[in-house]
């Protein structure tokens, strides 16, 4: 920054024309080493591979499952695990469990990923603006978000989803709204840490427009904590989303979803029947496992 010319307009044109530098050899090398150290951590590797396998299985569900998720066969109800043709058995309507699990995973992963990304983007924008501009704008934004913080997260999501028509969109919207303040607060704190740094001061002194400084110099430095936070939240949101579906506020039948499937399980296990319901156990374990591998990753990466 010290070699910048004094003229403001020249700096501005330089700021605008600064194209992303091509990745140099040393950088590529660093990236390789990071990947290698990731691979050396057995926990991270196993979690990462499991997550990858799960995403692939869910994306390519039609290729793996022989049946559609809503194809009911009344002559094949309650088939146990290991039945020929229905590896994971069938449910109370004779629908193939494997198909429902895989197709249901699409909804569950979607509910984990989409609200986190959308809320991350909105929260990042709000927090960046509040932390960079300060003053009245900061006060207004943060006080409004304080109100959302006054509600326990799950409760607010349930109250929002409960006030609207149930469905996937409602579920996604409810979780998004609930998440925004968490991202905004993090982004604002990070922005506050970056703004007093010398290079921001230098850019300001060189006459960079506030908007340019905010987007070019502050944003990249605020971005990484927000991304790390987002990866930890995705797993949690799968659980929150499955909770909403469990209550019947999310995905509506007959669409499959992990939370709704857990809710459907106990209907079979009547009190006192002492039956072990493998179907229910399976989805639940899967919800927990995806959540687990999500949570592990950012800690090491």
């Amino acid at each position: 920054m010290s070699s910048l010319p004094a003229s403001g307009s020249a700096v501005r044109s330089k700021l605008a024309s600064a194209a992303p530098a091509p990745i140099e050899k040393s950088q590529a090398g660093a990236r390789f080493w990071r990947l290698k150290s990731f691979a050396r951590d057995r926990g991270a590797l196993v979690s990462g591979l499991f997550l990858l396998a799960m995403v692939l299985a869910v994306v390519f569900a039609p290729l793996i499952a022989h049946y559609g998720p809503d194809e009911a066969d009344n002559f094949a109800r309650y088939k146990p695990i290991g039945t020929l043709d229905h590896i994971l058995g069938t449910d109370q309507q004779g629908r193939d469990m494997l198909a429902r699990l895989l197709f249901g995973g699409r909804v569950s992963l979607l509910v984990g990923v989409v609200p986190t990304l959308v809320a991350g983007a909105i929260g990042l924008g709000l927090g960046l603006t509040a932390g960079f501009i300060r003053g009245l704008v900061d006060q207004i934004i943060m006080r409004c978000l304080d109100v959302v913080f006054a509600f326990p997260m799950v409760l607010l999501a349930i109250a929002i989803a409960g006030s609207m028509r149930p469905g996937v969109l409602t579920e996604i919207l409810a979780i998004t709204i609930v998440l925004i303040p968490y991202f905004a607060r993090l982004a604002r704190t990070a922005t506050e840490g970056v703004t007093p740094m010398p290079f921001i001061e230098a850019a300001r002194a060189a006459g960079g427009a506030p908007m340019t400084i905010m987007l070019r110099y502050v944003l990249p430095n605020v971005f990484s904590p927000v991304v790390v936070y987002a990866t930890t939240l995705m797993g949690l949101m799968i659980v929150v989303g499955s909770g909403l579906s469990f209550l019947g506020l999310g995905v509506q039948p007959p669409t499959a979803d992990w939370g709704a499937m857990v809710a459907g399980g106990p209907r079979r296990a009547a009190p006192g029947s002492a039956c072990h319901d493998p179907a229910r156990l399976r989805h639940s374990r899967r919800v927990a496992r995806v959540q687990l591998s999500r949570r592990r990753r950012p800690r090491r990466a």
């Binding site: 006080r143 006054a150 509600f151 799950v154 006030s163 156990l281 927990a288």
Partner: protein, 316 residues
């Protein structure tokens, strides 16, 4: 300290006002029209308009809000649409039940979380540390509604040690012991997640506190290990731990909702679930308001405890 308490209480007023606005607006989000919901689809337009006028629904939104607020402030939450009972009589006993569950879970979570976290920190990288942290990761990741179902399956259906659901036995005397028996499974279900989070936080803050210079100085003065840990480590590690514990209370008040549904525990959560199913908006409003207010209150209490422990926080 008095000034700190006063400042904290004044600061929370706008938040509570905001909370009331959000809860009021939530109902406006609801599809459908209250008059149609009350009178049924075959009501004439004139009858609907009359009812809307009687309920004040034809007024501007801000006016409706202030009318609602002044009624709520006097403790009048309106009438439940589904049961036609005053909402206050419906909600308050349920609130007590939720508090019973929330506080017993908090107590269990604190006992498990603090002791496991402390032991793990004092024997960092030992077998106990690894095993307990792995268990904490598992317990913290499991969805509570699933955990509840598994516990019911194991302890209520297979082993038959504990009741499946509810708060009192139909045939029993309904005394304190009966309630305690019913309380065990929901408490364990709700407590495990927070206990896992608390254990992890306790472990990391204690390990961090152990490495601080003042601990080394105290050790070189020849303090016994027990005194060192009690006076210099734990006291310093407490503020972040208490903050997290307070946040967990918020989770327990709102998140116990799913557990309450699984165990048919007659608290606010299962009431909220029932009223959402029945689209009983006044009850939804009152329940949400009550939980949010207790959450705000819990946060203030946490701040006060922290300020009492750490004089530096009082100055800020």
């Amino acid at each position: 300290m008095t000034a700190f308490v006063a400042r904290r209480l004044v600061g929370v007023l706008p938040v509570i006002l905001g909370v009331s606005i959000v809860i009021f607006l939530l109902v406006q989000l609801a599809p459908g029209d209250a008059a149609t919901a009350l009178l049924g689809p075959q009501a004439t337009e004139a009858a609907k308009a009359e009812l809307r006028h009687a309920l004040g629904l034809d007024q501007a939104l801000p006016l409706q809000y202030f009318a609602w607020l002044s009624r709520t402030l006097t403790g009048d939450f309106g009438k439940s649409i589904a049961t036609q009972l005053p909402v206050a009589t419906l909600v308050l006993p349920r609130f007590v039940n939720t508090l019973i569950l929330a506080f017993s879970s908090l107590l269990l979570a604190i006992v498990i979380g603090y002791s496991v976290g402390l032991f793990a920190a004092l024997r960092a990288r030992s077998m106990f540390d690894r095993a307990s942290m792995a268990t904490a990761l598992l317990a913290g990741s499991a969805p509570p509604f699933w955990l509840g179902l598994i516990l019911v399956l194991l302890f209520a259906i297979q082993l038959r040690w504990l009741p499946v659901s509810g708060m009192r036995d139909m045939a029993g005397d309904g005394g304190p012991f009966d309630v305690l028996r019913h309380l065990v499974l929901p408490t364990v279900t709700t407590a495990l997640g927070p206990a896992a989070i608390i254990a992890r936080i306790v472990r990391s803050t204690v390990i961090e506190a152990l490495g601080r210079p003042h601990v080394r100085v105290a050790r070189s003065k020849g303090l016994t290990r027990a005194t060192l840990i009690r006076r210099h480590v734990i006291l310093n590690a407490l503020p972040p731990v208490i903050t997290i514990t307070g946040l967990q209370l918020g989770y327990l008040l709102g998140g116990a909702l799913l557990t309450e549904v699984v165990f048919a525990w007659p608290g606010l959560g299962s009431l909220l679930y029932d009223s959402i199913t029945a689209r009983d908006l006044p009850v939804i409003q009152a329940t949400t308001l009550l939980i949010a207010l207790s959450f705000v209150l819990a946060n203030i209490v946490v701040d006060l405890i922290n300020a009492g422990l750490d004089p530096r926080l009082r100055e800020a």
